[in-house]
Symmetry: C2
Subunit: 325 residues, 2 copies
Protein backbone atom coordinates (compact mmCIF):
# COMPACT_ATOMS: atom_id res chain seq x y z
CA UNK A 1 0.00 0.00 0.00
CA UNK A 2 1.20 3.46 -0.90
CA UNK A 3 2.15 6.08 1.62
CA UNK A 4 -0.88 8.20 2.47
CA UNK A 5 -0.70 11.79 1.25
CA UNK A 6 -1.97 14.75 3.24
CA UNK A 7 -3.27 18.04 1.87
CA UNK A 8 0.12 19.81 2.07
CA UNK A 9 1.74 16.88 0.19
CA UNK A 10 -0.82 17.14 -2.58
CA UNK A 11 -0.43 20.89 -2.83
CA UNK A 12 3.34 20.72 -2.91
CA UNK A 13 3.27 18.03 -5.59
CA UNK A 14 0.73 19.88 -7.73
CA UNK A 15 2.70 23.12 -7.45
CA UNK A 16 5.73 21.25 -8.78
CA UNK A 17 3.63 19.97 -11.66
CA UNK A 18 4.09 16.39 -10.57
CA UNK A 19 2.08 14.06 -12.81
CA UNK A 20 2.24 11.36 -10.14
CA UNK A 21 0.62 13.67 -7.59
CA UNK A 22 -1.95 14.86 -10.11
CA UNK A 23 -2.90 11.26 -10.88
CA UNK A 24 -3.25 10.40 -7.22
CA UNK A 25 -5.28 13.55 -6.57
CA UNK A 26 -7.72 12.65 -9.35
CA UNK A 27 -7.98 9.12 -7.98
CA UNK A 28 -8.75 10.67 -4.60
CA UNK A 29 -11.59 12.84 -5.91
CA UNK A 30 -12.99 9.90 -7.81
CA UNK A 31 -13.09 7.73 -4.72
CA UNK A 32 -16.50 7.05 -3.21
CA UNK A 33 -15.14 6.41 0.31
CA UNK A 34 -16.40 9.00 2.81
CA UNK A 35 -12.93 9.79 4.22
CA UNK A 36 -11.56 10.29 0.72
CA UNK A 37 -14.46 12.55 -0.19
CA UNK A 38 -13.83 14.67 2.90
CA UNK A 39 -10.14 14.97 2.02
CA UNK A 40 -11.00 15.67 -1.64
CA UNK A 41 -13.31 18.55 -0.69
CA UNK A 42 -10.59 20.07 1.49
CA UNK A 43 -8.03 19.63 -1.26
CA UNK A 44 -10.21 21.28 -3.87
CA UNK A 45 -10.93 24.27 -1.63
CA UNK A 46 -7.23 24.56 -0.81
CA UNK A 47 -6.11 24.62 -4.45
CA UNK A 48 -8.79 27.06 -5.67
CA UNK A 49 -6.32 29.99 -5.62
CA UNK A 50 -4.12 28.01 -8.03
CA UNK A 51 -6.92 27.45 -10.55
CA UNK A 52 -8.79 29.32 -13.25
CA UNK A 53 -5.85 30.20 -15.48
CA UNK A 54 -6.36 27.55 -18.14
CA UNK A 55 -8.48 27.63 -21.25
CA UNK A 56 -11.12 24.93 -20.87
CA UNK A 57 -12.17 23.41 -24.17
CA UNK A 58 -14.98 20.90 -24.63
CA UNK A 59 -14.72 18.74 -27.74
CA UNK A 60 -17.47 16.52 -29.06
CA UNK A 61 -18.54 14.71 -32.20
CA UNK A 62 -20.03 11.40 -33.25
CA UNK A 63 -17.89 8.26 -33.20
CA UNK A 64 -15.84 8.15 -36.37
CA UNK A 65 -15.46 11.91 -36.72
CA UNK A 66 -11.83 11.59 -35.62
CA UNK A 67 -11.79 13.11 -32.14
CA UNK A 68 -8.68 11.29 -30.97
CA UNK A 69 -6.60 12.14 -34.02
CA UNK A 70 -7.81 15.74 -33.89
CA UNK A 71 -6.86 16.03 -30.22
CA UNK A 72 -3.48 14.44 -31.00
CA UNK A 73 -2.80 17.04 -33.73
CA UNK A 74 -4.29 19.95 -31.83
CA UNK A 75 -2.56 19.02 -28.59
CA UNK A 76 0.84 18.66 -30.26
CA UNK A 77 0.33 22.03 -31.97
CA UNK A 78 -0.32 23.67 -28.58
CA UNK A 79 2.69 21.94 -27.04
CA UNK A 80 4.78 23.25 -29.92
CA UNK A 81 3.77 26.74 -28.76
CA UNK A 82 5.00 25.95 -25.24
CA UNK A 83 1.62 25.02 -23.76
CA UNK A 84 0.88 22.24 -21.30
CA UNK A 85 -2.14 20.21 -22.34
CA UNK A 86 -4.39 18.02 -20.22
CA UNK A 87 -6.98 15.79 -21.90
CA UNK A 88 -9.86 14.49 -19.80
CA UNK A 89 -12.06 12.03 -21.65
CA UNK A 90 -15.62 11.35 -20.61
CA UNK A 91 -17.31 8.25 -21.88
CA UNK A 92 -20.79 7.88 -20.45
CA UNK A 93 -20.82 4.28 -21.57
CA UNK A 94 -17.54 3.49 -19.85
CA UNK A 95 -19.19 1.79 -16.90
CA UNK A 96 -20.37 -0.87 -19.32
CA UNK A 97 -17.82 -1.08 -22.08
CA UNK A 98 -14.82 -0.02 -19.99
CA UNK A 99 -11.90 1.66 -21.54
CA UNK A 100 -13.18 2.54 -24.99
CA UNK A 101 -11.57 5.90 -24.39
CA UNK A 102 -8.55 4.28 -22.82
CA UNK A 103 -8.27 2.71 -26.24
CA UNK A 104 -8.21 6.25 -27.64
CA UNK A 105 -5.17 7.01 -25.57
CA UNK A 106 -3.17 4.59 -27.64
CA UNK A 107 -4.35 6.48 -30.73
CA UNK A 108 -2.83 9.68 -29.34
CA UNK A 109 0.63 8.30 -29.93
CA UNK A 110 2.73 11.42 -29.53
CA UNK A 111 0.56 13.22 -27.04
CA UNK A 112 0.25 10.28 -24.68
CA UNK A 113 4.00 10.07 -24.12
CA UNK A 114 4.83 13.79 -24.18
CA UNK A 115 5.96 15.27 -20.82
CA UNK A 116 3.84 18.41 -21.43
CA UNK A 117 0.67 16.37 -21.85
CA UNK A 118 -1.58 14.51 -19.46
CA UNK A 119 -4.34 12.21 -20.68
CA UNK A 120 -6.88 10.62 -18.42
CA UNK A 121 -10.26 9.01 -18.89
CA UNK A 122 -12.82 10.29 -16.42
CA UNK A 123 -14.91 8.15 -14.13
CA UNK A 124 -18.34 9.05 -15.37
CA UNK A 125 -21.27 7.09 -14.14
CA UNK A 126 -23.19 7.12 -10.92
CA UNK A 127 -21.38 9.97 -9.21
CA UNK A 128 -23.19 12.79 -7.44
CA UNK A 129 -23.54 15.76 -9.76
CA UNK A 130 -23.91 14.00 -13.09
CA UNK A 131 -21.38 12.58 -15.46
CA UNK A 132 -19.13 15.59 -15.40
CA UNK A 133 -18.92 16.43 -11.74
CA UNK A 134 -15.66 14.60 -11.15
CA UNK A 135 -14.36 16.04 -14.40
CA UNK A 136 -14.97 19.53 -13.06
CA UNK A 137 -12.77 18.77 -10.06
CA UNK A 138 -10.19 17.03 -12.24
CA UNK A 139 -10.01 20.19 -14.35
CA UNK A 140 -9.20 22.24 -11.26
CA UNK A 141 -6.49 19.78 -10.25
CA UNK A 142 -4.93 19.94 -13.73
CA UNK A 143 -4.93 23.73 -13.53
CA UNK A 144 -3.27 23.62 -10.12
CA UNK A 145 -0.62 21.35 -11.65
CA UNK A 146 0.18 24.04 -14.22
CA UNK A 147 -1.75 22.83 -17.27
CA UNK A 148 -2.90 25.84 -19.25
CA UNK A 149 -5.14 24.07 -21.74
CA UNK A 150 -7.69 21.55 -20.55
CA UNK A 151 -9.43 19.55 -23.24
CA UNK A 152 -12.55 17.68 -22.20
CA UNK A 153 -13.53 15.10 -24.74
CA UNK A 154 -16.92 13.49 -24.93
CA UNK A 155 -18.95 11.42 -27.37
CA UNK A 156 -21.55 13.59 -29.08
CA UNK A 157 -24.48 11.27 -28.82
CA UNK A 158 -25.63 11.32 -25.21
CA UNK A 159 -26.32 13.90 -22.56
CA UNK A 160 -22.73 14.45 -21.58
CA UNK A 161 -22.19 17.26 -24.12
CA UNK A 162 -24.66 19.53 -22.37
CA UNK A 163 -22.83 18.76 -19.17
CA UNK A 164 -19.47 19.49 -20.73
CA UNK A 165 -20.72 22.86 -21.93
CA UNK A 166 -21.41 23.61 -18.25
CA UNK A 167 -17.77 23.17 -17.26
CA UNK A 168 -15.90 24.56 -20.27
CA UNK A 169 -15.18 27.97 -21.79
CA UNK A 170 -15.31 26.93 -25.43
CA UNK A 171 -17.39 24.18 -26.90
CA UNK A 172 -16.08 22.70 -30.15
CA UNK A 173 -18.18 20.46 -32.34
CA UNK A 174 -16.38 18.20 -34.79
CA UNK A 175 -18.34 17.32 -37.92
CA UNK A 176 -17.83 15.26 -41.03
CA UNK A 177 -18.39 16.67 -44.50
CA UNK A 178 -21.38 15.47 -46.52
CA UNK A 179 -24.35 17.46 -45.35
CA UNK A 180 -27.36 15.90 -43.74
CA UNK A 181 -26.87 12.25 -43.05
CA UNK A 182 -24.00 12.61 -40.63
CA UNK A 183 -26.24 14.66 -38.35
CA UNK A 184 -28.23 11.55 -37.52
CA UNK A 185 -25.95 10.72 -34.63
CA UNK A 186 -25.84 14.20 -33.16
CA UNK A 187 -28.22 15.19 -30.42
CA UNK A 188 -30.49 18.16 -31.03
CA UNK A 189 -29.32 21.31 -29.36
CA UNK A 190 -25.61 20.59 -29.68
CA UNK A 191 -25.32 22.71 -32.79
CA UNK A 192 -26.63 25.75 -30.94
CA UNK A 193 -24.37 24.98 -28.03
CA UNK A 194 -21.23 25.06 -30.16
CA UNK A 195 -18.86 28.04 -30.04
CA UNK A 196 -17.09 26.67 -33.07
CA UNK A 197 -17.46 23.92 -35.68
CA UNK A 198 -14.61 22.02 -37.26
CA UNK A 199 -15.05 19.80 -40.28
CA UNK A 200 -12.52 17.01 -39.99
CA UNK A 201 -10.84 14.81 -42.57
CA UNK A 202 -10.49 17.69 -45.04
CA UNK A 203 -7.80 15.96 -47.06
CA UNK A 204 -7.37 14.11 -50.34
CA UNK A 205 -10.55 13.75 -52.34
CA UNK A 206 -12.52 15.00 -49.35
CA UNK A 207 -11.28 18.60 -49.51
CA UNK A 208 -13.90 20.01 -51.85
CA UNK A 209 -16.69 18.37 -49.92
CA UNK A 210 -15.27 19.80 -46.70
CA UNK A 211 -15.06 23.31 -48.15
CA UNK A 212 -18.63 23.09 -49.37
CA UNK A 213 -19.78 21.84 -45.97
CA UNK A 214 -17.93 24.74 -44.31
CA UNK A 215 -19.95 27.22 -46.37
CA UNK A 216 -23.18 25.44 -45.68
CA UNK A 217 -22.65 25.17 -41.93
CA UNK A 218 -21.56 28.81 -41.70
CA UNK A 219 -24.77 29.71 -43.49
CA UNK A 220 -26.84 27.50 -41.19
CA UNK A 221 -25.20 29.01 -38.10
CA UNK A 222 -26.09 32.44 -39.42
CA UNK A 223 -29.74 31.43 -39.09
CA UNK A 224 -29.37 30.40 -35.49
CA UNK A 225 -29.96 33.00 -32.79
CA UNK A 226 -26.71 34.74 -31.77
CA UNK A 227 -24.86 33.97 -28.54
CA UNK A 228 -25.81 36.35 -25.73
CA UNK A 229 -22.13 37.34 -25.54
CA UNK A 230 -22.13 38.51 -29.15
CA UNK A 231 -19.73 35.74 -30.20
CA UNK A 232 -20.39 34.42 -33.69
CA UNK A 233 -19.45 30.75 -33.98
CA UNK A 234 -16.99 30.04 -36.78
CA UNK A 235 -16.59 27.02 -39.01
CA UNK A 236 -13.14 25.67 -39.87
CA UNK A 237 -11.88 22.71 -41.85
CA UNK A 238 -8.88 20.65 -40.88
CA UNK A 239 -6.99 17.48 -41.52
CA UNK A 240 -5.44 15.81 -38.53
CA UNK A 241 -3.69 13.47 -40.95
CA UNK A 242 -2.03 16.29 -42.91
CA UNK A 243 -1.84 18.60 -39.87
CA UNK A 244 -3.59 21.30 -41.88
CA UNK A 245 -6.08 23.77 -40.45
CA UNK A 246 -5.09 23.01 -36.87
CA UNK A 247 -3.49 26.45 -36.32
CA UNK A 248 -6.71 28.07 -37.56
CA UNK A 249 -8.74 26.21 -34.94
CA UNK A 250 -6.28 27.37 -32.30
CA UNK A 251 -6.55 30.96 -33.58
CA UNK A 252 -10.35 30.78 -33.44
CA UNK A 253 -10.29 29.70 -29.81
CA UNK A 254 -7.74 32.39 -28.92
CA UNK A 255 -9.93 35.00 -30.62
CA UNK A 256 -12.90 33.73 -28.64
CA UNK A 257 -11.07 33.93 -25.32
CA UNK A 258 -9.93 37.49 -26.08
CA UNK A 259 -13.47 38.44 -27.09
CA UNK A 260 -15.04 36.91 -24.01
CA UNK A 261 -12.39 38.31 -21.69
CA UNK A 262 -12.77 41.83 -23.05
CA UNK A 263 -16.53 41.81 -22.51
CA UNK A 264 -16.19 40.11 -19.08
CA UNK A 265 -18.38 37.31 -20.31
CA UNK A 266 -15.87 34.57 -19.49
CA UNK A 267 -15.70 35.42 -15.79
CA UNK A 268 -19.46 35.67 -15.63
CA UNK A 269 -19.92 32.37 -17.42
CA UNK A 270 -17.62 30.53 -15.01
CA UNK A 271 -19.41 32.07 -12.04
CA UNK A 272 -22.77 30.92 -13.39
CA UNK A 273 -21.38 27.47 -14.10
CA UNK A 274 -20.30 27.15 -10.46
CA UNK A 275 -23.63 28.33 -9.09
CA UNK A 276 -25.45 25.96 -11.43
CA UNK A 277 -23.29 23.07 -10.21
CA UNK A 278 -24.05 23.97 -6.60
CA UNK A 279 -27.80 24.07 -7.23
CA UNK A 280 -27.71 20.72 -8.88
CA UNK A 281 -25.55 19.08 -6.25
CA UNK A 282 -27.87 20.47 -3.59
CA UNK A 283 -30.90 19.01 -5.34
CA UNK A 284 -29.23 15.63 -5.61
CA UNK A 285 -28.17 15.74 -1.98
CA UNK A 286 -31.75 16.50 -0.96
CA UNK A 287 -32.98 13.64 -3.07
CA UNK A 288 -30.53 11.26 -1.45
CA UNK A 289 -31.70 12.34 2.01
CA UNK A 290 -35.29 11.87 0.93
CA UNK A 291 -34.68 8.47 -0.61
CA UNK A 292 -32.95 7.28 2.54
CA UNK A 293 -36.18 7.57 4.55
CA UNK A 294 -37.94 4.23 5.02
CA UNK A 295 -40.56 3.53 2.36
CA UNK A 296 -40.31 6.93 0.69
CA UNK A 297 -38.21 5.79 -2.24
CA UNK A 298 -40.72 3.01 -2.97
CA UNK A 299 -43.59 5.47 -2.76
CA UNK A 300 -41.94 7.90 -5.16
CA UNK A 301 -41.26 5.12 -7.65
CA UNK A 302 -44.91 3.99 -7.32
CA UNK A 303 -46.12 7.55 -7.96
CA UNK A 304 -43.91 7.75 -11.02
CA UNK A 305 -45.64 4.62 -12.30
CA UNK A 306 -49.05 6.12 -11.56
CA UNK A 307 -48.10 9.26 -13.48
CA UNK A 308 -46.87 7.21 -16.42
CA UNK A 309 -50.12 5.29 -16.44
CA UNK A 310 -52.15 8.50 -16.31
CA UNK A 311 -53.71 7.72 -12.93
CA UNK A 312 -52.44 10.84 -11.20
CA UNK A 313 -51.12 14.25 -12.11
CA UNK A 314 -47.59 15.42 -11.26
CA UNK A 315 -48.93 17.97 -8.79
CA UNK A 316 -51.16 15.55 -6.93
CA UNK A 317 -48.28 13.12 -6.73
CA UNK A 318 -46.06 15.74 -5.15
CA UNK A 319 -48.76 16.58 -2.65
CA UNK A 320 -48.88 12.94 -1.58
CA UNK A 321 -45.16 12.88 -1.01
CA UNK A 322 -44.76 16.25 0.63
CA UNK A 323 -46.74 15.27 3.72
CA UNK A 324 -43.97 12.77 4.36
CA UNK A 325 -40.93 14.98 3.83
CA UNK B 1 -69.63 35.85 -2.41
CA UNK B 2 -70.30 33.11 -4.90
CA UNK B 3 -71.70 29.74 -3.97
CA UNK B 4 -68.86 27.33 -3.26
CA UNK B 5 -68.47 24.55 -5.80
CA UNK B 6 -67.57 20.98 -4.89
CA UNK B 7 -65.72 18.46 -7.04
CA UNK B 8 -68.92 16.94 -8.50
CA UNK B 9 -70.17 20.44 -9.41
CA UNK B 10 -66.95 21.20 -11.24
CA UNK B 11 -66.98 17.89 -13.07
CA UNK B 12 -70.61 18.25 -14.10
CA UNK B 13 -70.01 21.79 -15.35
CA UNK B 14 -66.88 20.85 -17.26
CA UNK B 15 -68.59 17.85 -18.85
CA UNK B 16 -71.30 20.23 -20.09
CA UNK B 17 -68.60 22.46 -21.53
CA UNK B 18 -69.57 25.33 -19.26
CA UNK B 19 -67.21 28.27 -19.75
CA UNK B 20 -68.27 29.68 -16.40
CA UNK B 21 -67.25 26.47 -14.63
CA UNK B 22 -64.01 26.29 -16.62
CA UNK B 23 -63.14 29.84 -15.60
CA UNK B 24 -63.83 29.12 -11.95
CA UNK B 25 -61.83 25.90 -12.10
CA UNK B 26 -58.83 27.76 -13.50
CA UNK B 27 -59.18 30.41 -10.81
CA UNK B 28 -59.23 27.58 -8.27
CA UNK B 29 -56.01 26.00 -9.51
CA UNK B 30 -54.35 29.42 -9.62
CA UNK B 31 -55.23 30.13 -6.01
CA UNK B 32 -52.42 29.99 -3.49
CA UNK B 33 -54.69 29.21 -0.55
CA UNK B 34 -53.96 25.80 0.96
CA UNK B 35 -57.61 24.64 0.95
CA UNK B 36 -57.97 25.66 -2.70
CA UNK B 37 -54.79 23.84 -3.60
CA UNK B 38 -56.08 20.70 -1.91
CA UNK B 39 -59.35 20.94 -3.81
CA UNK B 40 -57.50 21.73 -7.05
CA UNK B 41 -55.33 18.63 -6.73
CA UNK B 42 -58.43 16.47 -6.17
CA UNK B 43 -60.19 18.08 -9.10
CA UNK B 44 -57.28 17.53 -11.46
CA UNK B 45 -56.98 13.87 -10.49
CA UNK B 46 -60.72 13.45 -10.89
CA UNK B 47 -60.84 14.90 -14.40
CA UNK B 48 -57.75 13.05 -15.73
CA UNK B 49 -59.95 10.46 -17.51
CA UNK B 50 -61.56 13.34 -19.44
CA UNK B 51 -58.23 14.74 -20.66
CA UNK B 52 -55.59 14.02 -23.27
CA UNK B 53 -57.75 14.24 -26.38
CA UNK B 54 -56.74 17.73 -27.50
CA UNK B 55 -53.85 18.80 -29.68
CA UNK B 56 -51.60 21.00 -27.56
CA UNK B 57 -49.82 23.66 -29.55
CA UNK B 58 -47.18 26.01 -28.19
CA UNK B 59 -46.74 29.25 -30.13
CA UNK B 60 -43.89 31.68 -29.64
CA UNK B 61 -42.16 34.55 -31.38
CA UNK B 62 -40.66 37.92 -30.55
CA UNK B 63 -42.96 40.88 -29.84
CA UNK B 64 -44.10 42.34 -33.13
CA UNK B 65 -44.11 39.06 -35.03
CA UNK B 66 -47.90 39.10 -34.94
CA UNK B 67 -48.78 36.32 -32.52
CA UNK B 68 -52.22 37.65 -31.62
CA UNK B 69 -53.34 38.19 -35.19
CA UNK B 70 -51.95 34.79 -36.18
CA UNK B 71 -53.83 33.10 -33.34
CA UNK B 72 -56.97 35.00 -34.31
CA UNK B 73 -56.72 33.76 -37.91
CA UNK B 74 -55.59 30.26 -37.03
CA UNK B 75 -58.19 29.88 -34.28
CA UNK B 76 -61.03 31.04 -36.53
CA UNK B 77 -59.84 28.62 -39.22
CA UNK B 78 -60.02 25.72 -36.74
CA UNK B 79 -63.44 26.82 -35.52
CA UNK B 80 -64.56 26.88 -39.14
CA UNK B 81 -63.66 23.18 -39.23
CA UNK B 82 -65.84 22.57 -36.18
CA UNK B 83 -63.08 22.64 -33.59
CA UNK B 84 -63.20 24.15 -30.11
CA UNK B 85 -60.17 26.29 -29.40
CA UNK B 86 -58.72 27.35 -26.06
CA UNK B 87 -55.94 29.95 -25.93
CA UNK B 88 -53.82 30.17 -22.80
CA UNK B 89 -51.41 33.07 -22.84
CA UNK B 90 -48.29 33.11 -20.70
CA UNK B 91 -46.56 36.40 -20.13
CA UNK B 92 -43.60 35.97 -17.79
CA UNK B 93 -43.51 39.71 -17.30
CA UNK B 94 -47.18 39.91 -16.40
CA UNK B 95 -46.49 40.24 -12.68
CA UNK B 96 -44.88 43.58 -13.44
CA UNK B 97 -46.62 44.95 -16.51
CA UNK B 98 -50.00 43.31 -15.89
CA UNK B 99 -52.31 42.56 -18.70
CA UNK B 100 -50.07 43.04 -21.71
CA UNK B 101 -51.56 39.80 -22.96
CA UNK B 102 -55.02 40.76 -21.75
CA UNK B 103 -54.51 43.59 -24.19
CA UNK B 104 -53.92 40.92 -26.84
CA UNK B 105 -57.35 39.53 -26.17
CA UNK B 106 -58.90 42.66 -27.58
CA UNK B 107 -56.78 42.13 -30.70
CA UNK B 108 -58.39 38.70 -31.15
CA UNK B 109 -61.66 40.35 -32.06
CA UNK B 110 -63.58 37.44 -33.53
CA UNK B 111 -62.01 34.69 -31.46
CA UNK B 112 -62.55 36.43 -28.14
CA UNK B 113 -66.32 36.56 -28.58
CA UNK B 114 -66.84 33.23 -30.35
CA UNK B 115 -68.72 30.58 -28.31
CA UNK B 116 -66.30 27.86 -29.53
CA UNK B 117 -63.29 29.75 -28.21
CA UNK B 118 -61.88 30.38 -24.76
CA UNK B 119 -59.07 32.86 -24.17
CA UNK B 120 -57.35 33.29 -20.85
CA UNK B 121 -54.07 34.79 -19.72
CA UNK B 122 -52.17 32.51 -17.37
CA UNK B 123 -50.92 33.45 -13.93
CA UNK B 124 -47.23 32.94 -14.45
CA UNK B 125 -44.88 34.15 -11.80
CA UNK B 126 -43.89 32.75 -8.47
CA UNK B 127 -45.86 29.56 -8.61
CA UNK B 128 -44.40 26.20 -7.66
CA UNK B 129 -43.25 24.38 -10.78
CA UNK B 130 -42.12 27.28 -12.91
CA UNK B 131 -44.03 29.67 -15.09
CA UNK B 132 -46.01 26.99 -16.85
CA UNK B 133 -47.12 24.77 -14.05
CA UNK B 134 -50.55 26.33 -13.68
CA UNK B 135 -50.84 26.39 -17.44
CA UNK B 136 -50.36 22.63 -17.50
CA UNK B 137 -53.33 22.22 -15.17
CA UNK B 138 -55.37 24.79 -17.08
CA UNK B 139 -54.74 22.76 -20.24
CA UNK B 140 -56.20 19.68 -18.58
CA UNK B 141 -59.27 21.64 -17.45
CA UNK B 142 -59.82 22.96 -20.99
CA UNK B 143 -59.60 19.43 -22.33
CA UNK B 144 -62.11 18.22 -19.76
CA UNK B 145 -64.42 21.03 -20.92
CA UNK B 146 -64.30 19.65 -24.46
CA UNK B 147 -61.73 21.90 -26.12
CA UNK B 148 -59.89 19.87 -28.75
CA UNK B 149 -57.19 22.39 -29.60
CA UNK B 150 -55.23 24.11 -26.85
CA UNK B 151 -52.97 26.95 -27.95
CA UNK B 152 -50.39 28.09 -25.44
CA UNK B 153 -48.94 31.43 -26.37
CA UNK B 154 -45.71 32.81 -24.97
CA UNK B 155 -43.25 35.59 -25.74
CA UNK B 156 -40.15 34.18 -27.40
CA UNK B 157 -37.55 36.05 -25.45
CA UNK B 158 -37.41 34.50 -21.99
CA UNK B 159 -37.27 31.06 -20.53
CA UNK B 160 -40.95 30.34 -20.83
CA UNK B 161 -40.62 28.81 -24.32
CA UNK B 162 -38.56 25.92 -23.01
CA UNK B 163 -41.23 25.44 -20.40
CA UNK B 164 -43.99 25.55 -22.99
CA UNK B 165 -42.24 22.89 -25.04
CA UNK B 166 -42.51 20.70 -21.93
CA UNK B 167 -46.29 20.88 -21.88
CA UNK B 168 -47.21 20.88 -25.58
CA UNK B 169 -47.24 18.41 -28.45
CA UNK B 170 -46.21 20.81 -31.21
CA UNK B 171 -44.01 23.83 -30.82
CA UNK B 172 -44.51 26.53 -33.44
CA UNK B 173 -42.06 29.37 -33.89
CA UNK B 174 -43.30 32.51 -35.63
CA UNK B 175 -40.63 34.48 -37.47
CA UNK B 176 -40.42 37.65 -39.52
CA UNK B 177 -38.87 37.72 -42.97
CA UNK B 178 -35.55 39.52 -43.43
CA UNK B 179 -32.84 37.07 -42.47
CA UNK B 180 -30.47 37.66 -39.60
CA UNK B 181 -31.36 40.73 -37.63
CA UNK B 182 -34.73 39.59 -36.41
CA UNK B 183 -33.04 36.70 -34.65
CA UNK B 184 -31.55 39.11 -32.14
CA UNK B 185 -34.59 38.85 -29.92
CA UNK B 186 -34.88 35.09 -30.02
CA UNK B 187 -33.26 32.96 -27.38
CA UNK B 188 -30.73 30.37 -28.48
CA UNK B 189 -32.10 26.87 -28.58
CA UNK B 190 -35.62 27.84 -29.57
CA UNK B 191 -34.90 27.15 -33.22
CA UNK B 192 -33.93 23.58 -32.45
CA UNK B 193 -36.95 23.21 -30.22
CA UNK B 194 -39.39 24.16 -32.98
CA UNK B 195 -41.48 21.49 -34.71
CA UNK B 196 -42.47 24.05 -37.30
CA UNK B 197 -41.62 27.58 -38.40
CA UNK B 198 -44.07 30.09 -39.79
CA UNK B 199 -42.98 33.32 -41.43
CA UNK B 200 -45.69 35.85 -40.75
CA UNK B 201 -46.78 38.99 -42.58
CA UNK B 202 -46.25 37.38 -46.00
CA UNK B 203 -48.40 39.88 -47.82
CA UNK B 204 -48.07 42.94 -50.06
CA UNK B 205 -44.49 43.90 -50.80
CA UNK B 206 -43.32 41.47 -48.15
CA UNK B 207 -44.21 38.30 -50.05
CA UNK B 208 -40.95 37.84 -51.96
CA UNK B 209 -38.91 38.44 -48.82
CA UNK B 210 -41.05 35.89 -46.98
CA UNK B 211 -40.61 33.28 -49.70
CA UNK B 212 -36.87 33.81 -49.70
CA UNK B 213 -36.77 33.52 -45.91
CA UNK B 214 -38.79 30.29 -46.13
CA UNK B 215 -36.12 28.76 -48.36
CA UNK B 216 -33.33 29.97 -46.14
CA UNK B 217 -34.85 28.72 -42.92
CA UNK B 218 -35.73 25.38 -44.47
CA UNK B 219 -32.10 25.11 -45.52
CA UNK B 220 -30.89 26.09 -42.05
CA UNK B 221 -33.19 23.55 -40.40
CA UNK B 222 -31.77 20.90 -42.70
CA UNK B 223 -28.43 21.49 -41.02
CA UNK B 224 -29.79 21.04 -37.55
CA UNK B 225 -29.79 17.56 -36.06
CA UNK B 226 -33.07 15.71 -36.74
CA UNK B 227 -35.74 15.21 -34.11
CA UNK B 228 -35.43 11.87 -32.31
CA UNK B 229 -38.92 11.05 -33.57
CA UNK B 230 -37.87 11.40 -37.20
CA UNK B 231 -40.09 14.46 -37.70
CA UNK B 232 -38.59 17.04 -40.03
CA UNK B 233 -39.68 20.57 -39.07
CA UNK B 234 -41.34 22.45 -41.92
CA UNK B 235 -41.34 26.13 -42.80
CA UNK B 236 -44.53 27.88 -43.94
CA UNK B 237 -45.41 31.43 -44.83
CA UNK B 238 -48.71 33.07 -43.99
CA UNK B 239 -50.57 36.32 -43.78
CA UNK B 240 -53.00 36.72 -40.93
CA UNK B 241 -54.16 39.92 -42.59
CA UNK B 242 -55.04 38.18 -45.88
CA UNK B 243 -55.88 34.87 -44.19
CA UNK B 244 -53.47 33.12 -46.53
CA UNK B 245 -51.29 30.17 -45.61
CA UNK B 246 -53.26 29.45 -42.44
CA UNK B 247 -54.69 26.17 -43.77
CA UNK B 248 -51.14 25.03 -44.62
CA UNK B 249 -50.04 25.59 -41.02
CA UNK B 250 -53.03 23.57 -39.84
CA UNK B 251 -52.16 20.81 -42.32
CA UNK B 252 -48.56 20.74 -41.09
CA UNK B 253 -49.68 20.27 -37.50
CA UNK B 254 -52.17 17.56 -38.49
CA UNK B 255 -49.44 15.77 -40.41
CA UNK B 256 -47.19 16.00 -37.36
CA UNK B 257 -49.84 14.57 -35.04
CA UNK B 258 -50.48 11.68 -37.45
CA UNK B 259 -46.74 11.04 -37.75
CA UNK B 260 -46.17 11.12 -34.00
CA UNK B 261 -49.24 9.04 -33.24
CA UNK B 262 -48.26 6.36 -35.75
CA UNK B 263 -44.79 5.98 -34.24
CA UNK B 264 -46.16 6.17 -30.66
CA UNK B 265 -43.91 9.13 -30.00
CA UNK B 266 -46.73 11.42 -28.88
CA UNK B 267 -47.85 9.17 -26.02
CA UNK B 268 -44.25 8.68 -24.97
CA UNK B 269 -43.55 12.42 -25.09
CA UNK B 270 -46.52 13.24 -22.87
CA UNK B 271 -45.49 10.56 -20.40
CA UNK B 272 -41.99 11.99 -20.22
CA UNK B 273 -43.37 15.50 -19.83
CA UNK B 274 -45.41 14.40 -16.82
CA UNK B 275 -42.50 12.62 -15.18
CA UNK B 276 -40.28 15.63 -15.78
CA UNK B 277 -42.88 17.88 -14.15
CA UNK B 278 -43.06 15.58 -11.15
CA UNK B 279 -39.27 15.55 -10.72
CA UNK B 280 -39.13 19.30 -10.85
CA UNK B 281 -42.02 19.84 -8.49
CA UNK B 282 -40.42 17.39 -6.08
CA UNK B 283 -37.13 19.27 -6.21
CA UNK B 284 -38.86 22.55 -5.54
CA UNK B 285 -40.85 21.05 -2.70
CA UNK B 286 -37.64 19.76 -1.15
CA UNK B 287 -36.04 23.14 -1.52
CA UNK B 288 -38.98 24.80 0.19
CA UNK B 289 -38.73 22.40 3.10
CA UNK B 290 -35.01 23.06 3.31
CA UNK B 291 -35.36 26.81 3.16
CA UNK B 292 -37.94 26.77 5.93
CA UNK B 293 -35.37 25.51 8.46
CA UNK B 294 -33.99 28.26 10.68
CA UNK B 295 -30.78 29.78 9.34
CA UNK B 296 -30.39 27.35 6.47
CA UNK B 297 -31.63 29.69 3.76
CA UNK B 298 -29.17 32.37 4.91
CA UNK B 299 -26.35 29.85 4.91
CA UNK B 300 -27.15 28.68 1.39
CA UNK B 301 -27.24 32.27 0.14
CA UNK B 302 -23.90 32.92 1.86
CA UNK B 303 -22.37 29.85 0.23
CA UNK B 304 -23.63 31.03 -3.15
CA UNK B 305 -21.78 34.28 -2.55
CA UNK B 306 -18.64 32.38 -1.58
CA UNK B 307 -18.88 30.33 -4.76
CA UNK B 308 -19.34 33.46 -6.85
CA UNK B 309 -16.29 35.01 -5.22
CA UNK B 310 -14.24 31.88 -5.87
CA UNK B 311 -13.70 31.14 -2.15
CA UNK B 312 -15.24 27.71 -2.23
CA UNK B 313 -16.11 25.02 -4.75
CA UNK B 314 -19.67 23.85 -5.42
CA UNK B 315 -18.93 20.44 -3.93
CA UNK B 316 -17.42 21.78 -0.71
CA UNK B 317 -20.37 24.12 -0.35
CA UNK B 318 -22.80 21.24 -0.61
CA UNK B 319 -20.84 19.29 1.99
CA UNK B 320 -21.19 22.20 4.39
CA UNK B 321 -24.94 22.27 3.91
CA UNK B 322 -25.59 18.56 3.90
CA UNK B 323 -24.60 18.10 7.52
CA UNK B 324 -27.57 20.33 8.36
CA UNK B 325 -30.21 18.71 6.18
Amino acid sequence: MRHKLHIPDYIAGLKQGSIATLSRAITLIESTRAEHQQLAAELIDAILPLTGNAVRIGITGVPGVGKSTFIESFGMHLIGKGKKVAVLAIDPSSSISKGSILGDKTRMEQLSVHPSAFIRPSAASGSLGGVTYKTREATLLCEAAGFDTIIIETVGVGQSETEVSHITDFFLLLMLAGAGDELQGIKRGIMEMADGLVITKADGQNIDKAKMARGEYARALHFLPPHPSGWIPEVKICSSYEHSGIAEVDAMIEKYIQHQTANHYLVQKRKEQNLFAFQRLLNEQLRQVLFSRPGLKEQILQLEQDISAGHTSPYSAVRKVSGLI
